[in-house]
Amino acid sequence: MAPEASGLASRVVGALRQAAITGLIAFGLLLPLIGFNTVQNIRNELILETRWPLLAAMVAIIAGGRFLHALLIAPWLARRALRPRPEHAPRARLARWLVPFALGFAIVYPPLALSITGVQGAVKWIDNFGVQILIYVMLGWGLNIVVGLAGLLDLGYVAFYAVGAYSYALLANSFGLSFWILLPIAGCLAAFWGILLGFPVLRLRGDYLAIVTLAFGEIIRLILINWVSVTNGYAGVSGIPRPTFFGIPFNASDEGFAARFGLEFSPIYRTIFLYYVILALALITAAMTVRLRRLPIGRAWEALREDEIACRSLGINTTNTKLTAFAMGAMFAGFAGSFFAARQGFISPESFTFMESAVIVAIVVLGGMGSLIGVAIAAVIMIGGTEIMRELDFLKAIFGTNFDPTQYRMLLFGFAMVLIMVWRPRGLIATREPSTFLNARRALPSRAPQSEETQASLVRERHG
């Protein structure tokens, strides 16, 4: 017993020392900006206030967390690393059920929300959660083609979203064309811009490409702000026509959707319709991705992500290959953009900032580059999570009435990006389903164990 006790004691002392060091560093990091607060007094002068209790609490939490990590979590992780890897069978089975289940849920979601919360509550649930999340799922899946498959980090993706939105808004307002005609036009215009911007930059190195796409994204936003005669600048474009049910408007008139179908008028029908439109658009994006991955162009994209020089040595025109990925991604952003404009009825440059691009990149990266399921899960967590934050009124009871959970949204977003990169650089779902099999998916029962092994080996993260 004695050696064990002394072992424990020394571990506690070691953990305490680590906690003390971490606490000291945290104190240094937090002292200037948490310990002190700059506020304006009545005479509009900047004065300092101290927040010692807050500082002490934060340092204590960090030091305490480090202590527990050193004492309990780190040894547990070390022990787990020594154990053989567990079977991945349950996870594989889960993945098989997840897709049909999620799809079924997405289809029955509006009636479900309607029956649970009633007409009043359902608008919020279908619009804020359903439509909002699905827009980001679609954007994530679109960018997934560029970042996840082709490995091109595009930090200006929101520019194509903006091109789609403004194309619809301006063309609908000036020519009175309908949503269904403008949707493909907006997609094509966005793809055209994708080719135009992509052509000069796609031979650049990975990180340079990222920064140049960021610059292009910002240039397009600044043009939207400053070209007032066309875009109306900061004020944005309003009065954008809303989509109709194939010609039947969603309004209270006799010609409206509700009257035609003998229903009582309610805004909920439009919301439900919009929900199914974006769901269909998102599913088209997914279907295209699945299809393209099995075609030579999709394999070339993935090969490009793995090793560009090897691609060139095999006679692949990498510029064209990148350009198709870029244009394809831009086209889906254009679709999503015109849907966004139609749903909002109003757009302004504020909706297309760099932060928006960063959020979409974060969704793709966190979900697992190339994984459709992962991207969808990440979008649900990240966008649904921030929407839920708006609902957390009980936090006001704890932290006071001034507490606004939504302002922590981007803070947590940034933190999650760093955390996921450090913890799982390949994202939440790092599996990769091969696009084709030589041995017919190894469906033979005798090969089944080996198939599991293959799955496990694909899960393993690779570096390089």
Binding site: R299, A300, E306, L438, R462
Partner: protein, 320 residues
């Protein structure tokens, strides 16, 4: 698979590594090649020719510029000076060489013969049009993709054509499905050749080192190359694997219309498998000839062992 009558006939009659008839037209001619990086002269006025159906080895001490020559041939570097010509089909097209050089275009066709000036072509066209395939010193596989997928990516251009540049393939046309099946058949052929069939559905990065080397060669062969450039194919292999590699390369040479150009440090391998050897030192050619000639060449010995001139002379006398 296309097996030329010439290769099939010569295969049995030809003991490996021995001298061969020299009346064959070259597949590749490198003339007065120079490559400078800033002030550094990596290759200086280097010329050689590789004959069709030969295994030609490019050897030399570390830093001699061998990989730079490869990068110039395969279009990854633009040489500062010089001409790199590659030909396939009817050898008569060689007569067009000077006219082609004058004209400033990339290639010329005569009958079924084609002649290319590689220094005028971007890297992917060197591979796609001139049909030069290569491997890399530090293996470059698509590590996250399966072995089979690696071999399908190599057939990208023919599959792209078959898929109607994606449009027809996306519509699910029969003809594309057929093309993909035949691409898989070709992949299966090379997998059987390299003994990787069992691992076809594993990620390429999970293969053992020797397997990765073999896969890289198989991938290059899936492009149906006229010239296969191998950058140190035996590096990191054990003696057994090296011997296998030699047999594998001989099979490629004998059964396919592919000539081989290789860089190698392992002299046993080089002497065993090459038909012709070119020695490069400090960016200049110091010797070329059959393995036997090279083995006894005093300049080569000097370059490799760094011995004094007189000593070389003595040794050269001693061996004669």
């Amino acid at each position: 698979m296309s097996v030329t009558s010439y290769d099939a006939a010569a295969a049995g009659a030809r003991p490996s590594g021995s001298a061969r008839p020299s009346n064959l037209a070259p597949v590749l001619r490198v003339e007065h090649l120079s490559m400078r990086f800033g002030g550094l002269v990596a290759i200086n006025d280097f010329s050689f020719a590789a004959r069709r159906g030969d295994i030609t080895a490019l050897i030399g001490p570390n830093g001699a510029g061998k990989t730079t020559v490869f990068n110039c041939i395969t279009g990854f570097y633009k040489p500062s000076e010089g001409r790199i010509a590659l030909q396939f089909g009817d050898p008569g097209v060689w007569e067009e060489l000077s006219a082609l050089t004058e004209r400033g275009t990339r290639s010329v066709t005569r009958g079924d013969g084609m002649l290319f000036l590689l220094e005028r072509m971007p890297d992917y066209l060197v591979a796609h049009r001139a049909r030069v395939a290569r491997t890399f010193q530090n293996i470059r596989l698509f590590q996250g993709m399966t072995v089979l997928e690696n071999l399908l990516v190599a057939q990208h251009n023919s599959l792209m054509w078959a898929s109607g540049f994606t449009v027809l393939g996306a519509l699910g046309l029969r003809s594309y499905a057929r093309a993909e099946r035949s691409a898989i058949d070709k992949a299966r052929y090379w997998l059987d050749r390299t003994g990787l069939t069992d691992r076809a559905d594993d990620p390429a990065g999970e293969l053992p080192y020797g397997g990765q080397r073999r896969l890289e060669i198989a991938r290059a062969m899936c492009t149906d190359p006229v010239l296969l450039c191998l950058d140190e194919p035996a590096a990191g292999l054990n003696p057994n694997e090296s011997a296998d590699l030699g047999r594998y390369l001989h099979k490629i040479r004998d059964e396919h219309a592919t000539s081989i150009l290789l860089i190698e440090h392992d002299m046993t391998v080089v002497m065993e498998i090459s038909d012709y050897i070119v020695v490069l030192d400090h960016g200049q050619k110091i010797a070329d000839g059959t393995p036997d000639e090279i083995r006894n060449d005093p300049r080569v010995i000097a370059a490799y062992l760094g011995v004094e001139e007189e000593e070389v002379a003595e040794r050269a006398i001693g061996t004669q």
